[in-house]
């Protein structure tokens, strides 16, 4: 049983998070590296180019990579300090197995043999699909691809899904139904030449900081910026128009805009008629979405809505960018479609400085979702239920159609099935559901019910604490491979150092496990990331996400290659849809009508305040890496409750006061942070932390019926002032760690200066 082996405090003492404060050898060590390795930052979908300084097989620092065209040397604080995830005191270097005292270091062979035996036992008893895999898209394309193949052919389970389900999946669904393909339509260079930038539900300055410079450069040339978000985020500070709408009302705003575009005849009729379908249906769905109606639902003034529609309608060129703010909703896919409807109605896509894109959040959020660790997908963004698509993959994989499982259930549904006792075993890698899934308590209950859980990770994340076996895997810099950035640019990750101890790249572990499960024939030929990529090329060939013509050498020679790239002499495709050609069989785009529906949970007398959650610039996803890096913890050690002073006044709250926030799922106590930059009917909590400090204690397991993304961005809560003794002891511990990081400036000898 996967009960926690020790108290959380004991686990923290043994496995952290502890802070890495300084490079290997301390700040006094000789800073001259043996070599510089050109690679990319592991934190976020921007995938900035960076050079890692390597000395004695350790990453000791970084050097900006100014030639890489996307970021030209620029890095956010996570990129600057990313090197400190290596040589870390918490790093797992030996296999761990559970015994009566907790986790014990184990012989690799023994851990693997036990894992294989338990998998076989569970599958023999409960069927192949009773063993599930949950993985993540911070992994390379090669590892993502292999995870998909391992789950389907190594384990024979259909129940495989990934943490992109919590990230870009609503955007993917919206893009596929509109365009027949799931990728940002433009290279980022189109942003800087555009006239109007519409940013909706994207805290760009904190979640994709490098995009800021693209937007500022456009504005230097006269572009206008519209920002739609319940909070006035740093990117919105100087925006030309700020629309702080009610959480969960994005689709209402965009419907209202489409209504006005149609009413004012600001439609590109030539484009609509030549290149799209279903415009009439989309307009019919918004016929009642007058400015007054829109104002009622969004809480925005009529004049602001009309101004936004006028600017959007009259712009000559434009870029619409959105992110998790609109996607993390129970109508995430519809919100995305409502944005795309605005773009298609004005015909501004598929040309220079005209386009649209979701800003993918996770490190390999784009590539990871294309190559098959999504429950309904096969490599090349193929459909697992499509007979032709299956036949292509069966041929590449040398398996029969019967051997290839069909569509499984999604990430939250897998957790629900574990909780219900339908799924008995789990392989978890690159995913920390205890922090990142909604309704934390439910997730903890679910993991406690597993008969057997095996995890692969480099740190013992809060979810790995439930594992029976933990296999130490590789950091990004310990293996080579490719990722695909938010732009759709396939780039090369280069190996800087070897794995420490017994740790191995995830693909090696899966290949080993497949052999032990008697499925070696599908995996025997994989002896390197390159060998996996060569098969991925074949598997993706002919799919929408076609990597057939991409090689490692071509990527390095061209600083990345944009897919689709079907043949080796093909230059790649930075901008999609040129000439109004879309990826549906008839070449046309489709409007998708988005009739309004409210969020699954709305405020009421009992829970009268909207809660929305999100990221801060100093942390990445569930914080497994960034909560272990001194500088980042120093800047933002713990979560807080962002609240408008007018709302705070009603509850007698001053800055720093302890406030209890309660939803139908749970309650937590945080310090209040008073800001006028948030709607007064809404509060915000950053989500990167765990246990009593996890924002997801409050969020609900409400899913978008189309994409199955949870509604992290909209919950109803109530608050009350409480007493300082209600603060979690973890808060004090994190403040102590921040102090420790701040104080770490003692070891500098005088002679340095």
């Amino acid at each position: 049983m996967s009960q926690l082996p020790n108290s959380l405090e004991e686990l923290r003492r043994a496995f952290g998070p502890h802070l890495n404060l300084a490079p290997p050898g301390g700040w006094l060590a000789d800073p001259v590296p043996d070599k510089l390795v050109k690679t990319h930052c592991c934190f976020c979908g921007q995938q900035c180019g960076i050079q890692l300084k390597v000395k004695d097989n350790k990453v000791v620092g970084f050097e900006p990579w100014e030639e890489f065209p996307f970021n030209k040397g620029k890095l956010c604080p996570k990129g600057v300090k990313r090197y400190l995830q290596g040589n870390h005191p918490d790093r797992l270097t030996k296999a761990l197995m559970r015994d009566e005292h907790g986790f014990a270091e184990s012989n690799w062979d023994q851990a693997m043999a036990h894992t294989a035996a338990k998998i076989q036992e569970i599958q023999a008893k409960h069927g192949p699909h009773s063993f599930a895999v949950l993985s993540g898209v911070s992994m390379s394309n090669e590892k993502s691809y292999l995870t998909g193949k391992f789950a389907r052919l190594g384990l024979g389970t259909r129940n495989l899904d990934y943490n992109g389900r919590l990230c870009m999946v609503a955007a993917g669904a919206g893009n596929k139904r509109a365009f027949g393909v799931d990728r940002a339509a433009n290279p980022w260079s189109d942003i800087e030449g555009t006239d109007l930038i519409w940013v909706q539900g994207s805290n760009i300055a904190e979640c994709s900081p490098i995009t800021t410079d693209y937007i500022w450069r456009a504005r230097d040339k006269g572009a206008r910026l519209i920002v739609v978000d319940p909070r006035i985020t740093p990117i919105a500070r100087t925006a030309d128009l700020v629309l702080p709408l009610k959480p969960g009302s994005d689709c209402a705003l965009n419907n209202g805009i489409l209504h006005l575009l149609n009413k004012w005849n600001l439609i590109d009729w030539d484009f609509v008629e030549a290149h799209t379908h279903r415009f009439a249906e989309a307009v019919e769905a918004v016929k009642d979405c007058t400015p007054h109606w829109t104002s009622n639902l969004t809480g925005l003034p009529v004049e602001a809505i009309e101004k936004a529609a006028r600017w959007w309608g009259e712009a000559k060129t434009s870029m619409l960018l959105h992110a998790r703010g609109i996607e993390h909703q129970s109508k995430g896919a519809d919100n995305v479609s409502s944005c795309i409807n605005m773009v298609l109605a004005t015909g501004r896509i598929g040309r220079p400085f005209c386009g649209y894109g979701t800003i993918t959040g996770q490190g390999n959020g784009q590539g990871g979702r294309e190559h098959g660790h999504k429950c309904d997908q096969l490599p090349g963004n193929r459909d697992i239920e499509n007979p032709e698509h299956r036949a292509h993959i069966c041929k590449v994989w040398n398996c029969t159609d019967e051997e290839l499982p069909r569509k499984g259930i999604t990430a939250q549904e897998i957790m629900n099935a574990i909780h219900a006792g339908e799924i008995k075993g789990l392989l978890l890698l690159c995913f920390n559901p205890v922090v990142s899934l909604p309704d934390t308590e439910f997730t903890r209950e679910a993991l406690s019910k597993l008969e057997f859980m095996v995890g692969m990770d480099f740190f013992l994340s809060e979810s790995m604490q439930y594992a029976d076996v933990v296999l130490p895997s590789a950091l990004q810099e310990e293996d080579e491979g490719t990722t695909t950035s938010a732009e759709g640019r396939v780039i090369k990750i280069n190996k800087a150092v070897d794995c420490p101890g017994d740790a191995k790249p995830d693909w090696e572990i899966m290949v080993d496990l497949a052999k032990r499960l008697g499925k070696g024939r599908f995996f025997d030929h994989f002896d390197s990331s390159r060998s996996i990529f060569e098969e991925l090329r074949k598997a993706s060939s002919g799919g929408t996400a076609d990597y057939g013509g991409i090689t490692y050498e071509k990527i390095e020679a061209n600083m990345g290659v944009f897919w689709p790239c079907p043949t080796e002499d093909h230059p790649g495709t930075p901008r999609l849809f040129e000439g109004g050609k879309f990826f549906h069989p008839d070449g046309k785009a489709k409007f998708y009508p988005t009739p309004w529906r409210p969020p699954m949970e709305v405020v009421d007398e009992q829970f009268p305040i909207w809660l929305t959650t999100g990221r801060v610039v100093y942390h990445y996803l569930s914080g497994t890496q960034t909560r272990r890096i001194g500088f980042l913890v120093e800047q933002c050690p713990h979560p807080y409750l962002e609240i408008h002073p007018r709302l705070a006044e009603r509850y007698g709250l001053a800055e720093g006061d302890p406030v209890e926030i309660e939803s139908r799922r749970g309650a937590m106590v945080l310090p209040a942070k008073l800001v006028t930059t948030i709607r007064p009917d809404t509060v915000f909590i950053p989500y990167h932390w765990t246990s009593k400090l996890a924002a997801n204690q409050l969020t609900a397991r409400h899913l978008d019926p189309v994409s199955k993304i949870p509604e992290y961005k909209v919950s109803a809560v109530r608050i009350r002032k409480t007493t300082p003794d209600r603060f979690s002891p973890e808060l004090a511990e994190l403040q102590r760690m921040a102090f420790e990081a701040r104080s770490n400036q003692s070891d500098i000898p005088e002679q340095v200066f």
């Binding site: 410079d213 230097d220 100087t238 629309l243 610039v617």
Partner: protein, 195 residues
């Protein structure tokens, strides 16, 4: 080619700053700084705005820090760069820290020496831009040939400041903000129906 010369200018534009502190973190990573950052980044008034302001040394033409140094430990080189105090001379008296109109120098406890931004002398002398201006995601810190600034930015660079009774001319420039930048952002004023 060294990038510290008359041709290159350092331009600071707080309007673009997103407060991410990449500059602060990167400054500490510079080869000679060894974990100490010489950059200050301040929230102006987080209650009212997300405005943040990075402060790096302005490299004054006649640096006040050097004028008030009783040990004559602070030197300005011919290329206009004002350097950290010279260790053998610095007595850690903090006169420089107290007198700088921009609040730049830091006398580090334990070291008893003033250290400050030297425009990344080690990097610029080898043809690299200063670390902070290289990494800054919003390019609120910008290091380019001075002749390019007009084509790159619509705001004007300012190199002369009157602070109290002091009139200061500097090597580095601050970009003059737009007239209409709001200092107080209030979502309550942008929504319908009041609260």
């Amino acid at each position: 080619m060294p990038l510290v010369n008359e041709e290159y200018g350092f331009f600071i534009d707080p309007q673009r700053c997103i407060g991410c502190r990449a500059c602060v973190g990167a400054c500490a990573e510079c080869g000679t700084h060894r974990g100490r950052s010489m950059i200050h980044l301040d929230e102006m008034d987080r209650l009212a705005s997300t405005q943040t302001v990075p402060t790096v040394c302005m490299h004054c033409e006649d640096p006040i820090c050097a004028q008030v140094c009783p040990a004559d430990a602070i030197k300005r080189s011919e290329d206009g760069v004002v350097h950290s105090s010279q260790k053998p001379r610095c007595i850690g008296c903090q006169n420089c820290e107290l007198s700088c109109p921009f609040g730049v120098p830091i006398v580090f406890s334990g070291l008893e020496q003033m250290l400050k931004c030297d425009l990344c002398y080690d990097r610029t002398s080898e043809g690299h831009r200063p670390m902070c201006a290289t990494v800054c995601p919003s390019q609120a810190l910008l290091y380019v040939p001075k002749t390019q600034i007009e084509s790159l930015r619509k705001n004007k660079p300012l190199r002369e400041f009157t602070i109290g009774s002091l009139h200061v001319k500097t090597r580095n420039a601050v970009m003059v903000p737009d007239d209409d930048v709001p200092l107080h952002l209030d979502a309550a004023l942008l929504i319908a129906g009041g609260f």
